[in-house]
């Protein structure tokens, strides 16, 4: 099992360690637990070790061309210091992965990808964009990534840096020091809250120490270390898709209801032809959000029934700790996607009613 650089901090903080896509990471911490961690992020803040995420750099005269060819959003709209959510596309217009594209300068882009997909993505990028004048480098092993999320994230992180955090807008980043470490500091996250993600090169000791110090200084603010359990419930409550559950290489961008990251007019890219065709013909299914109106909690892979017949599965489902109700995401036939539409979910031996609702389930007050 691989260990992230802050690993030792989780053991010191009583993390309940599990294996997640080959990495040893805390699912929760003994002193808090999933629920408390989830609520802390919504009301004060949480600290996440997300060093397992992948960092792939594109450097060279055709860095932008390569990114444009591999992804579905329009990276030409970026300016240095800006970030874009996008999809790494198959030729069918489905997802190899979803990712964040950071423009560092005209010749350098950083693509942050899912841990489970890093090797697959890197291989795909090299294979499909090999003809561009660009160096594609997987630097995942060099980087520690820590996320500080929640309404008090800025208050905590500002104690660790001279960088003016208020000047970093949502989906923007800057370079600055956090303690003595050179960091890329971005205003992004996977929780539905305001917050930051910091990326830096450091050894195990310095990585763990920064995590521990953030935990210590966070305590009086109500900011606590947060595990993978709450990371999943937070992102789901905020209706953010998870690769492998909600988006994958068998659902297109259009079906995933992510048309806002699809820019068909930007020029040629992988999947464009398939997506143009699908847009013209129309989709037959779409990702929707639902609430369980009957009794029970819908979970990943429970069967979904439409008009009494199994149509698919629950892609993501949980009890949402802040909203205090059972919610989830699935794909339904297009004529069943209107909010208010009823369908059923198989929970053990019962069919339980559920209703399509607007996403996001949770939206923070600004």
């Amino acid at each position: 099992m691989k260990k992230t650089k802050p690993n030792k901090a989780h053991h010191i903080l009583n993390g309940k360690m599990i294996e997640f896509v080959g990495w040893e990471l805390p699912v929760q911490y003994a002193d808090s637990g999933l629920n408390e961690e989830h609520i802390a992020v919504r009301t004060a803040g949480g600290l996440f070790d997300v060093s397992h995420m992948g960092e792939v750099f594109f450097r060279g005269p055709q860095a932008l061309d390569a990114v444009q060819y591999l992804t579905c959003n329009n990276a030409a709209k970026l300016v240095p210091g800006k970030i874009q959510y996008s999809g790494l596309m198959t030729e069918n217009g489905c997802f190899v992965d979803d990712l964040l594209v950071h423009m560092i300068n005209e010749k350098e882009y950083l693509l942050v990808v899912n841990a489970a997909n890093t090797d697959k993505d890197f291989k795909h990028m090299k294979e499909k964009a090999g003809h561009f004048d660009v160096e594609i480098k997987n630097e995942s092993d060099d980087y520690t990534q820590i996320a500080v999320q929640g309404p008090k994230a800025e208050q905590l992180l500002s104690q660790f840096t001279d960088t003016d955090l208020t000047a970093i807008k949502y989906y923007h980043f800057t370079f600055g020091k956090v303690r003595k470490l050179d960091c890329l500091i971005s205003r992004t996250g996977y929780t539905g809250e305001d917050g930051f993600e910091i990326y830096f090169k450091a050894d195990e000791k310095n990585s763990a120490n920064l995590f521990l110090e953030l935990a210590e200084k966070g305590k009086p603010l109500g900011i606590i270390p947060t595990g993978l359990g709450a990371r999943d419930t937070l992102r789901l409550e905020a209706s953010m898709p998870l690769y492998g559950n909600d988006i994958d290489d068998s659902h297109t961008v259009l079906e995933a209801d992510l048309e806002w990251i699809l820019k068909l007019k930007k020029g040629d890219f992988l999947g464009k032809e398939a997506l143009e065709k699908q847009k013209e013909q129309g989709i037959t299914r779409k990702r929707i959000g639902f609430e369980v109106t009957g009794k029970g909690i819908a979970r990943h892979e429970y069967p979904v029934y439409v008009d009494g017949k199994q149509y698919g599965i629950v892609n993501s489902g949980t009890f949402a700790p802040f909203l205090k109700k059972a919610v989830g995401m699935t794909y339904l036939p297009l004529d069943k996607c209107q909010p208010g539409t009823e369908f059923e979910i198989g929970i053990r031996d019962r069919k339980v009613s559920a209703r399509v609702v607007e996403m996001p389930f949770y939206k923070r007050e600004k």
Partner: protein, 132 residues
């Protein structure tokens, strides 16, 4: 009711049983509730259900997981803890008392002999913790 832990018997799946004559009262242990985390939903059996020893007859769900409750004895469900429907967190707060789950009229109280007493269960937990 409030049970004295010393008087309870335990299963390897972390249910506890308290007997009152031919009635067995069943819940989950303190260790089980802690492992599960905050309970948010409890699915109860129906009064009158006939249950075989080992049947999964109730479900306790926390945010992170679903846990089946297996009946340690054969018999008929005579009462379920309806209070848990509105206050599932009672299982966390008082697992050996107000957090009981169902009561069953036993066909054969001899089935209880295979269960662990409190001291044996404590040893069993030590074994689990050492393995971790």
């Amino acid at each position: 009711m409030s049970a004295n832990v010393k008087d309870l018997k335990f299963t390897k799946e972390h249910e506890w049983v308290k007997t009152e004559g031919e009635i067995a009262i069943i819940g989950i242990s303190d260790y089980a509730q802690k492992e599960l985390g905050d309970v948010v939903y409890v699915e109860l059996p129906a009064v009158g259900d006939s249950i075989e020893k080992g049947d999964a007859c109730a479900n306790i769900e926390s945010v992170k997981a679903v846990s089946d409750i297996y009946s340690p004895v054969t018999g008929e469900i005579v009462e379920v803890n309806e209070f848990l429907a509105g206050k599932p967190e009672t299982i966390n707060k008082d697992p050996y008392g107000a957090g009981w789950v169902f009561k069953i009229r036993m066909d054969d109280s001899g089935e209880l002999n295979t269960l662990m007493n409190a001291a044996a269960y404590e040893e069993y937990l030590k074994g689990i913790l050492e393995e971790k």
